[in-house]
């Protein structure tokens, strides 16, 4: 009986019209008036990718250097510094490659530079060549003895300690201080010249340590060596699983 619209008060109906008009206006603005680049993130992203790609390059990459510095490039390729990029030491050189006469890369000749990589630091991986810059030939430029593009020790060192300083120092205050390195390692002469390609031997068996430490050991150095029963002691493991051979401590 009662007509439905009549139930809605006049004022409310008017408000509804205003509201709908507002929504329509809003939708119109959002969908039509605002330009797409302002609201479509995909367009904005494409834009940003272009901006990102247009950023200037400062490091040219080491392949570029070969063009004009072929000799140094070839020399470095064969030496210990083969994995170093030219710009690791000379800094960003893109500008230099574009105008080599005007822009010169830095030349890191000061002594503080090489120790960034070569100063002794116990967190560095074992075997990485390290020196103590305070005592290693102080006051002279590193480059006066080592060619930075083909670094190697300028003379063949006599002692193992030149390169294995840490091991030598450890052994010097250990129970094995009287044992020469060569008691346990056979060292080919070539090892001191190209240490990474010619490697010394290392003990392989339990019996090797047994030469001095077995109950019936007869080695001339074995006189003072404490004895263990090889058949039982340390079970099946090689001795250096538990005793560091360069500083054999007996901790308990």
């Amino acid at each position: 009986m009662v007509k439905f619209p009549e139930k809605i008060p006049d004022s409310l109906a008017r408000l509804l019209v205003v509201f709908l008009a507002l929504v329509a206006a809003g939708a119109f603005v959002v969908l039509v008036v605002i330009p797409r680049p302002m609201k479509d993130v995909r367009l904005q992203w494409a834009d940003d990718i272009k901006r990102e790609q247009a950023k200037p390059v400062r490091y040219a990459g080491f392949h570029v250097c070969v063009e004009c510095h072929g000799e140094i490039y070839e020399m470095k390729k064969k030496g210990y510094h083969r994995d170093l990029s030219c710009e690791t030491c000379h800094g960003p050189a893109k500008a230099h490659t574009e105008d080599p006469d005007k822009v010169k890369p830095v030349i890191p000749a000061q002594r503080a530079f090489c120790p960034l990589c070569h100063a002794y630091n116990p967190s560095r991986p074992r075997g990485f060549p390290q020196i103590n810059p305070v005592v290693h030939n102080p006051l002279k430029a590193c480059a006066s003895c080592h060619n930075p593009h083909d670094p190697k020790p300028p003379t063949t060192p006599k002692d193992c300690s030149a390169c294995h300083g840490e091991i030598a120092r450890t052994k010097a205050v250990s129970h094995h201080v009287m044992l020469a390195c060569t008691t346990c390692h056979e060292v080919p002469r070539q090892h001191k010249i190209s240490p990474r390609s010619v490697k010394p031997s290392k003990p392989q068996t339990r019996e090797f340590c047994g030469k001095c430490h077995a109950k019936d050991a007869r080695d001339k150095m074995a006189k003072d060596a404490p004895r263990v029963d090889l058949s039982e002691h340390g079970e099946k493991y090689v001795c250096w699983q538990c005793h560091y051979p360069h500083s054999p401590e007996v901790e308990n």
């Binding site: 993130v41 904005q44 990102e52 790609q53 990029s85 960003p92 990589c117 967190s123």
Partner: protein, 249 residues
């Protein structure tokens, strides 16, 4: 009179902020933003060999130079952490400062079990939490899998900085927008290596297209046991670690 004018002005401004509304409509459910390696085209990845890093910091320096990262030692796109693990479980982690003098020997005593360096950078997650939380769609993932920040639309709200579980983002003090590693997007799209990979002296850092068959990157993946940081978060990082210690987070 005045009241009506301000009301209309406000209304107008509100309608024109439609960009914001539309932006909000674009906040997609998290799943829709994750990506999978495409069959075709590039899909960049990064490898780190922890046991090759010597902590020389050349990467940190080159990154700052190449990308205009502020020099202060707390803004980094890539950085190197030094871990010191002691007996009885105590671990200290510190970002290295290559300019500083050698560490005091006193740091190193018999209680140390192991010590090593861990290079860090943005993990360019395939399922990136930072992209999910951005209220204006300013951070996004490219088709080749690199997460970028659009400086034109970033409002500097720091939400993504909070959301990143790897601490890879910072607020750039000049632009006041979020900033982070882009794999040197401007370099890699020209076929160059990222600056940090270019200058690394020991090949502790490798980079390449994971879709390529023969590349240092796919070789790295083939030859090593690979881990990622915080795998439980399901962010699916594309920075892969070899020789990663369990203590590293």
């Amino acid at each position: 009179m005045n009241g009506r004018r301000t009301f209309l002005k406000g209304l107008f401004a509100f309608l024109f902020s439609g960009g914001l509304i539309e932006g909000m409509l674009n906040i997609l459910p998290a799943g829709a933003l994750a990506r999978e390696a495409p069959d075709k085209g590039k899909w960049y990845g990064y490898g780190v060999s922890v046991d090759k890093c010597i902590g020389c910091g050349r990467c940190m320096d080159a990154c700052k130079t190449e990308n205009d990262v502020p020099r202060e030692p707390f803004f980094f796109r890539t950085w190197v952490e030094r871990y010191i693990l002691r007996k009885h479980g105590a671990t200290t982690v510190k970002t290295i400062d290559p300019a500083a003098e050698a560490p005091p020997e006193a740091d190193f005593d018999k209680s140390i079990l192991r010590s090593f360096f861990v290079p860090k950078l943005c993990n360019q997650c395939a399922n990136p939490p930072c992209v999910q939380v951005c209220p204006v769609g300013a951070t996004f993932q490219t088709d080749d899998g690199v997460v970028l920040v659009n400086v034109k639309t970033c409002i500097g709200c720091r939400y993504c900085i909070q959301a990143c579980p790897y601490g890879a983002r910072y607020l750039h003090p000049v632009t006041r927008t979020a900033d982070k590693c882009t794999f040197c997007y401007h370099r890699i799209s020209k076929g160059l290596l990222p600056a940090c990979v270019e200058v690394c002296p020991t090949q502790a850092r490798v980079f390449g297209d994971l879709n390529a068959q023969a590349s240092p990157m796919s070789r790295f993946q083939r030859m090593n046991k690979i881990h990622v940081l915080k795998p439980a978060l399901n962010t699916e990082p594309k920075v892969y670690y070899a020789g990663l210690d369990g203590e590293v987070r």
